[in-house]
């Protein structure tokens, strides 16, 4: 597998990524080793979903595969689930284009 497996529970695809992908159904409190310490899961996270490794502010780029996959729309703390509720695409946004025109 490309990337680095962290503690058998998360897959970190590239060094610059601020999220990790759960490779099992993970429960609140699960620890993911990171940066010499451990990130504690703030909520249950399903297989294939992402967890923040670092604090992410609204407007910050969320990075996976070493590439931007979207922007945070809320403050996200380490150990929180990162998905459509707190991270949005920056592309294909006809809704935003309209708002800018007006």
């Amino acid at each position: 597998m490309k990337g680095e497996v962290l503690g058998d529970v998360g897959l970190h695809m590239a060094e610059t990524d601020n999220v990790v992908t759960a490779i099992d159904d993970l429960e609140t409190g699960t620890e993911i080793p990171w940066g010499g310490t451990a990130i504690e899961l703030q909520e249950d996270v399903e297989f294939g979903h992402k967890v923040a490794l670092e604090p992410i502010q609204p407007g910050d780029v969320v990075r996976k595969y070493g590439e931007p996959i979207g922007e945070a729309v809320e403050t996200i703390a380490p150990g929180e689930w990162v998905h459509t509720h707190n991270c949005e695409s920056a592309r294909g946004r006809g809704d935003r284009a309209d708002a800018e025109v007006i």
């Binding site: 490779i23 992402k50 294909g92």
Partner: protein
């Protein structure tokens, strides 16, 4: 050298299957085409679709290109074109294009035959004769460089970008190294990853064309004032852990491997044989996208899925690859390759090797799960109003 056992054709590369294709020109002839295929022998296959009698000009041209390409696919040894007889779509033109490649072709018009029952009767006679003409074909050893490998993903989840797609990408790299062609498509799923594809284009012309195609698909969402997030990633993709189109695209493009992008062709346009990695500009709908590549000449398709897909194609074997361990288990009878072992530590290259071996075995006659179950979906991409407006603007 890698080889497969295929059916030689009068022109072009060898087929991996030996079919009589029964090709309706419109939805009005689809039921008759199905009935003819059902009542003949197993190797007579129909390609029923939903297109209407009198489509607008640009759409008509795309349908004719698709159906001609389907009849010219190396897996087709002979073809029967079936029309109601009132279509704008040129049945004779399609038959002529197929005949120009040295294949036997018949046309059948339901109106002239005297109605559906009579047309089915006459059609069965034609199909039997056409089959008799190719039934003696025997496989012979051919070079892997004759293979055109279509690559598709559907029902994606987070495992698609981690396991199944990179493994299929490794198989594409192997085939390209052996002189063959690989092709992936679904332009909406280049969005957010197009800069990585652009870097790999062989020249400025290919790069500009690729970026223009991506821009066109993305601006379609903007023109309509919609948020692409409503459709991409799909709700199912989101359940599987994919948050944005960028994330989906970055995971999707790896299914084409790592070799240079040699070109990008239109929907259903002929894919060059021995052309390396060539993209096709298609929408994101799996079935239409697979049909586009089969019309472009792909003899064989790999279809990766995370959440599960059971789809096949009437004329090209579809190899199912999943990277999701639960799908590998639940849909075991619909899957051909389990790539979820990558998550447990098997290397991407090792799984890519298994996929390449499967590709050669299927090319030589081994049946895929979809073929064993006769799963044969077929649909042609229907041009949207904005695309038709654009075509008119260019005319």
């Amino acid at each position: 050298m890698a080889t497969f056992d295929g059916y030689p054709r009068p022109t072009g590369p060898a087929g991996v299957r030996n079919y009589v294709a029964v090709i309706p020109t419109s939805v009005a002839a689809s039921a008759v085409a199905d009935a003819i295929a059902d009542r003949t022998v197993e190797n007579v296959r129909s390609t029923p679709h939903q297109m209407g009698i009198d489509p607008p000009d640009g759409a008509c041209e795309q349908i004719e290109r698709t159906l001609s390409g389907i009849g010219q696919n190396p897996n087709v040894g002979a073809a029967l074109v079936v029309a109601l007889g009132t279509e704008t779509i040129d049945a004779d033109g399609i038959a002529d294009a197929i005949a120009a490649t040295g294949r036997n072709v018949e046309t059948l018009t339901i109106r002239e035959a005297g109605g559906t029952a009579a047309a089915v009767g006459t059609g069965v006679d034609h199909a039997r004769e056409l089959w008799d003409g190719i039934a003696d074909a025997r496989r012979e050893e051919r070079d892997a460089s004759e293979l055109v490998f279509g690559v598709e993903c559907g029902g994606s989840d987070a495992t698609s970008g981690i396991a199944a797609n990179p493994a299929v990408g490794a198989a594409c790299d192997r085939l390209v190294r052996d002189g063959g062609t690989a092709s992936f498509s679904e332009t909406p799923e280049f969005i957010g990853a197009e800069h990585l594809l652009a870097e790999r284009c062989v020249d400025d012309e290919v790069r500009d064309r690729l970026l223009e195609r991506v821009e066109r698909r993305e601006s379609a969402a903007q023109l309509m004032g919609v948020d692409l997030r409503g459709a991409q990633p799909t709700p199912g993709n989101q359940d599987g852990g994919l948050t944005t189109i960028e994330e989906k695209s970055l995971g999707a493009i790896v299914k084409g491997g790592t070799t240079p992008v040699r070109g990008i062709v239109e929907y259903a346009e002929s894919l060059p044989v021995g052309g390396g990695l060539v993209l096709m500009d298609t929408p994101g709908y799996d079935i239409e996208s697979v049909v586009g590549k089969v019309a472009g000449g792909a003899q064989i398709v790999a279809f990766t899925t995370g959440r599960g897909s059971t789809t096949g194609n009437p004329l090209a074997p579809v190899i199912k690859v999943t990277g999701n361990p639960k799908t590998a288990d639940r849909l075991a009878s619909n899957m051909d390759v389990n790539a979820s072992t990558i998550i447990d530590g098997e290397s991407i290259d090792a799984v890519g090797e298994r996929i390449y071996e499967t590709l050669l075995a299927v090319a030589s006659g081994k049946r895929t799960a979809a073929e064993q179950r006769r799963l044969e979906e077929f649909a042609i991409n229907e041009l949207q109003p904005n695309e038709l407006a654009e075509l008119r603007g260019n005319a």
